[in-house]
Structure formats: C-alpha cells, structure tokens
Amino acid sequence: MGSTAYDIAKLAKISEFSMDAAIKNFISYGEYFEALDAFAEKARQYLRDYTPKVVTCSDETRRNFVDDVHALQREFVNLGMLISASALTDLISAAAKSDAESLEDGLRIFYADMELMAKLVVSARLQPPKPSSKEKPVVLAVDDKPEILTSVTGVLGSHYKVIAVTSGAAALEAARKYRPALFLLDIEMPEMNGLELAKALRELPEHKDTPLMFLTDNSARDNVLAAKALGVREYFLKPVNKELLRGKIDPYFGL
C-alpha cells in the first residue's frame, strides 16, 4: 500500500482519537498512518457491503455481522478510537439479542460515526506539494559513519538533493543554510546524539514542523518513545533499504 502523510496536530485535535495511547501500538507514526489509511478504506468497504438489512437476514448472517463488528471494535481500540469502540458494544448486544429496534438505532449511529470518522481521517491527510520546479527536495542526512551516508546518498540521490554530514554541529549549520525539507538522522552518534540533534533542530523556528525521520540500528524502546515524543514521522532500522526509504519519504513530496 502506498503511504499517505497526515497532519499529526490535526489528528491529535480529533476528540474521538486517543492518539497517545494508540501510537504505542506502532513503531512509527508512518505505520500508524498506514493503519488509519487501511481503516478508512475498510470503513468505506463496510458501508458498501453491510446495508441496514441485518435485521431481516438469517441468524447466520447476523452472527457473521456480530463477529465482524467485534473485529472492527478491536481495530478501533488498536487505533485509539475508544469512543467508537465502546459504541459498538451496544450494537453487538442488540444484534446478539435480535432486538430489531435497538439494532436499527445502533446501526444508524454506527454508520454515521464511521462516515464521520472516515471524513476526519481523510481531512487530516497532507496534500503533497506539487513539484513546482525541477529542483530536487533537499534531504539532510546525518550519521557519524560515512559508509552509511554513502548508501543514503546512493539510494535517495536520484530524486533528492541529499546533504550528508557526520556530526550534529555540521547538521545544524547545514539546516540553517539550506532549509532542508526533511531530516534523516542516526541516533547513536558521539558528541551530540540524534535525539539531542532532533531537539536542537526543532528549536530552529524554520524547522519546527520539518518532517523528521530516524535511520538507526537502535530499536531500544526508550529511544523509540523519545523519538515519538519529538514527533518523528518514521523510525527506520538499518541496514539501508532503498524501497523502504523511498516508499516512506516520496509521499511527502508527491513523488
């Protein structure tokens, strides 16, 4: 599935979302957003397939419906949509009892809720900027190992201008000078590590919202959580993989 970029701040404002809880189930915002994408599609599919005929259907169809709603409920919890998940409990109960009136009411509310949720998720999608010129977007890659930077410039260089530096100090200088459109940082570096660098970059007014990603060998939970707290969009694990990097970075630039 292709990646879609979302406005994190906008998603966080949607009261139905408990994003702080949900993000813990995913290694990165990117993975979370992909799940949201899948959810939006599933919601649409569900609306198409399950028209409000459940009441007049056979017991078997009703049982299948209850099973499906249970599965959706689990997915809602996983995605942090706790209010929607709890609303489904009434629907399941009504379907199990074949209580036609409650079921119809519940279905109506459920469908309306699904439709609203799908709209909210879609509205939080970032519209990729249309390439306005032949200039390549600038990616600032930081790693203390030149061997890794050579790989990054190799796999991204055909579509991006990659500025590669080996220290936090050089990264800050380059960030001020070249206004990169995306940061790709290692975590374990001497002197200034990637998390410290990310904080310093966020303090630059021109880069408070610039997408930030990590490319690291470190999957320690503390680091993942610290990265998430900094609003990191992706957390790639080394070794460098072209398909993975391009697959996640390209959508930010409409490529």
Binding site: D144, K145, P146, E147, I148, L149, T150, S151, T153, G154, V155, G157, I163, A164, V165, T166, A170, A174, Y178, E188, P190, D217, N218, K238, P239, V240, N241, K242, E243, R246
Partner: protein
C-alpha cells in the same frame, strides 16, 4: 575491475558477504553497492584501528566509547552484507555496554583477526593493479578547483567525487597526486571543512608547480 569482469562476479568472490540480499536492498543498483563497498573497504582499516585502540585503553570511561564504536561497526558491516561479522560486533557492543571487559576479552582479539583478514581480502579483490595512469596537465586540476571549492561549501560530495575521479585518471606529480587522493578521502568522509582546506592546498601546489614549470 582488475580483470574486466562484472562487479557481481567479483562480489561472489568476497567471503562472508550476502551480496544478493544487499544488492536488493540497494534497489538492485550495482553502482551504488560498488561505491558503498569501495568506501567501506577504504575506511575499514581505520575502523579496526580505532576499535583496537579503544580496547587497548579500555577503562570504564572508554568502554562506553568502545561500545559506540562496536555499534557503528555493526551497522557498517551489515550495510555491505557482512552479517556474521556484524553480529560479532553487535555481541561486543552489548558486552561492553554491560561493562563486561572479561567477556569482551574473549571475543575481541579473534574478531579483530577475522575483520582484518576480511578487510585485506576486500581491498585485494577491489584493487586495480593494472590501472593505467598517464601524465596529466596541471591546468586540468586548476580548472577543477572552482567545482571542488563550491562542492565543499555546499556539502555536495557527489559533484566533488565526480570531478576528482576525472582528475585521478592522470598523474601530476607526487605532491599533487597525494593531495588529490587526500581530498577524495575527505569528500568520501563528508568532511567538508577539511576538504575546503585541501582545495586551498591543492591550488597552492598547482600554482607553485606552474611557476617552476613542472
């Protein structure tokens, strides 16, 4: 390549590398893999020396640095497909993180031996002893200086390395050749500040040689 064979044929000769998997990770691009492998081969002896040095001076303070070095080396080795050596480096990283010097001592010497043998083999396989070097006109170096200067100021290693690769087809005298090699080394390390200084040095050398009619 030394004998004109394809790079993938050479790759299969390198022991301890899962090259097919790595080539796939680079999107199937042989030039990218080749470049990464060459840079890694050039920097590996220094990486080994640094790890050895940190081990020799291992006290609690520097064990932390040793751990960081082992961590970096692990990434570098996996990046070229040397997964087994990468795993040993990872093992050393974890042991040194726990300050377990005794356990490190059991693994470190053997790892250094294996890694050195691997590094030597890599350099041998990638070297080109038959490379033809013709005498070049130093004015070509002078013409390349603005590109090199601009590349160093703009953190643009690729443009610099392309220009330097053209210059390296010729020889201009020992000092200039060595400075060009050093410059290539600095750009490969993304050490742009150092590269800038070397561009200036190269200018002085070419101009001095020009005055002396070399």
């Amino acid at each position: 390549m030394p004998d004109g064979r394809g790079f993938t044929a050479v790759l299969s000769e390198i022991p301890g590398i899962l090259w097919e998997k790595t080539l796939e990770a680079f999107g199937g691009s042989v030039p990218i893999y080749e470049k990464v492998l060459r840079v890694t081969a050039r920097l590996l002896p220094e990486n080994i020396a640094r790890l050895e040095d940190l081990y020799e001076t291992a006290v609690p303070e520097s064990l932390e640095l040793y751990s960081l070095e082992a961590h970096g080396l692990k990434g570098v080795l996996r990046n070229i497909g040397a997964y087994e050596l990468g795993e040993t480096s990872y093992c050393l990283e974890l042991l040194s993180k726990e300050n377990d010097l005794a356990a490190c001592a059991k693994i470190h010497p053997g790892f250094i031996r294996e890694l050195t043998a691997f590094s030597n083999e890599l350099s041998r396989i990638l070297s080109d002893p038959n490379r033809a070097v013709k005498h070049g006109d130093a004015s070509g170096v002078l013409k390349a200086l603005p590109t090199l200067m601009q590349a160093a100021e703009a953190f643009d290693g690729d443009s610099a390395l392309k220009a330097l690769s053209r210059l390296r087809r010729f020889t201009y005298g020992e000092d200039i050749d060595r400075t060009i090699a050093d410059l290539e080394n600095m750009f490969e390390r993304f050490a742009f500040g150092e590269a800038l200084k070397l561009v200036e040095k190269l200018r002085e050398l070419v101009e001095t040689n020009g005055q002396h009619g070399v």
